[in-house]
Amino acid sequence: MNGGQSGNRLRLTGHVLANTAISSGLIRLDLDLGRPVSFAPGQFAMLNLTGPDSLVFSRPFSILACEETVVSFLYRVVGRGTALLARQEPGCVVTFFGPLGGSFPPPPDDSPVVILAGGVGLPPLYAWWRRYRRGEDRAYFGGRDGADVPWSLLEEGWRVSVDRLTNLPPGAEAWEGLVVDYGRHELTTSDGPRLVLACGPAPLLRAAARWAAEGNWPCLVSVEERMGCGYGVCNGCVVPLLATGDATDAVLPYATCCEEGPVFAAERIDWDAFARTE
């Protein structure tokens, strides 16, 4: 279902070019890898630090963009690893292992695409939008408030929603509410088929899946799970799937997020089991 892996997986040493906040909560990291890397939207990389800051497990981050030898990420500080990452200054070494996992596919010929991105779920869909968008496609981004939104990345036709309509920069427009509700407000399921692509926190993914199911629209979601290795060798990152009737599914109801995902068809995920693991 997803776009498959593109090219080889590389372990490289990156040097920080920039590591700066682009909104109140989001930091953009630009790493120079010393050689060009290609990726497909939705793929991620495992990042780690070296020396005393080195983490037992590398951390997964979706790739925002690659320009020549520079690969970019967007992240939020949520714990020890991201706090350490935020302290890396230009010139510091960050190890890169990627691109990993599957991707969001190119747009289908026969239906428009609706993108739903929340917070740090932006990178895969930002990359998709830049590469593939057509006139009939729609992109929605949801942030916490006006200050949390990375406006500089959302200039090309993005529609923005915020949980609280505060701190909007001059001239910026946003809809107050959840990003999926913004989509629902503008588009109706009777308009004809669309493909929904979603990435963000689990409640957003579930709401996107529910909306798509109402219209019988296909929906692909990028799922975040804790990871150990990122390359399919530890089984530490599994996502619960619904049985398809295939006999082996009944015994092995899990797929690895890192190799078989992170992009899954929403209807394949066992959302109830997924919710229990959050």
Partner: protein, 304 residues
């Protein structure tokens, strides 16, 4: 690093373990490199492949039936190591023999198959299955019996905590491995490991693999509950290196058995410590998760 004078071994040279020549002494540990099939499209400026210099891949543990494994979360990172509770998710011996083993052979991956079961006769049956197809598999070098997994039949404790159980499992597998090596992987979660190692060797094991993970628990302070759904997990990584070294030393000194050292190896210095105590080979686990070239790098650094 500057290699010490006493270290004159080339770890990438073949060496004999029981009835078999193994391609090298630096291996990946069970559960930390999948079935050994996931590294072929990975490269780096320093290495053509993560398999460079690797003596053997010990596969994810395979059981008589497929196992779904435990619910998430399955991993918890701690400052000096990690807790895991994967729950032996695996495809089962039938699928392993029909699908995975041929692929490992085609790719030329030097393989040690890790097996776990709840009864000695199941170990016998699984090794018999492997023996039946052995003629086709030149890269399959042996079996590691995982005698250290939590098991319901023995009240949730590690299966291999009694010398009788260890002996019975090794004895059941040995007849089916006339020309492949047989390792018994032991639990560190016992007061003394030497009696278990002694039982394994007396029953025919060619070497002891030590150690498996140390039982541990992490509490999620927000909920006040254990973080892992099964409460306990297996502790691994740098924190367990001294525990592993002590257990290996006990086995070498008290039993004189060949030992494959495992536990907390992240650098070539760590690996050398096991060799200094007399280990014949080492395995790299948690460090291989962080970096697919961790084992290859250690093999390269220890080469003479």
């Amino acid at each position: 690093m500057q290699l010490p004078d006493w270290w004159q071994t080339d770890p990438c040279q073949r060496f004999t373990l029981g009835p078999r020549e193994i391609p090298g002494r630096i291996w990946t540990a069970s559960g930390c490199f999948g079935y050994g099939l996931s590294g072929h499209d990975i490269s780096s400026p320093e290495f053509a492949s993560p398999y460079d210099g690797i003596g053997a891949v010990v596969t994810k543990t395979v059981t008589p039936q497929p196992r779904a494994g435990n619910p998430m979360p399955r991993l918890a990172e701690l400052p000096c190591g990690a807790l895991n509770s994967i729950g032996l998710q695996n495809v089962g011996i039938d699928h392993f023999v029909s699908e995975v083993l041929p692929e490992l052979e085609r790719l030329g991956v030097p393989t040690i198959v890790s097996l776990a079961a709840t009864r000695p006769d199941e170990f016998g049956e699984m090794t018999r299955r492997l023996h039946a197809v052995a003629g086709r598999y030149d890269h399959w070098h042996g079996v590691e019996l995982n005698l250290s997994c939590p098991n319901v039949a023995e009240g949730g404790h590690d299966f291999g905590r009694s010398a009788e159980t260890v002996a019975a499992c090794v004895a059941a597998a040995r007849p089916h491995l006339p020309d492949r090596c047989l390792l018994a992987k032991l639990t560190p979660n016992v007061g003394e490991i030497a009696p278990l190692a002694h039982a394994a060797v007396a029953a025919g094991a060619d070497a002891i693999a030590a150690i498996n993970t140390v039982i541990g628990l992490e509490v999620d302070l927000a909920s006040g509950q254990p973080l892992l759904p099964r409460r306990f997990g297996g502790y691994s990584g740098p924190a367990i290196l001294p525990i592993a070294l002590a257990k290996v030393d006990e086995i070498v000194c008290e039993v004189g058995a060949a030992v494959v050292g495992i536990g907390g190896i992240a650098t070539s210095e760590d690996a050398l410590k096991f060799f200094a105590l007399g280990a014949v080979a080492v395995q790299v686990g948690t460090a291989q998760l962080r970096d697919p070239f961790a084992t290859a790098e250690i093999a390269r650094e220890l080469s003479r």
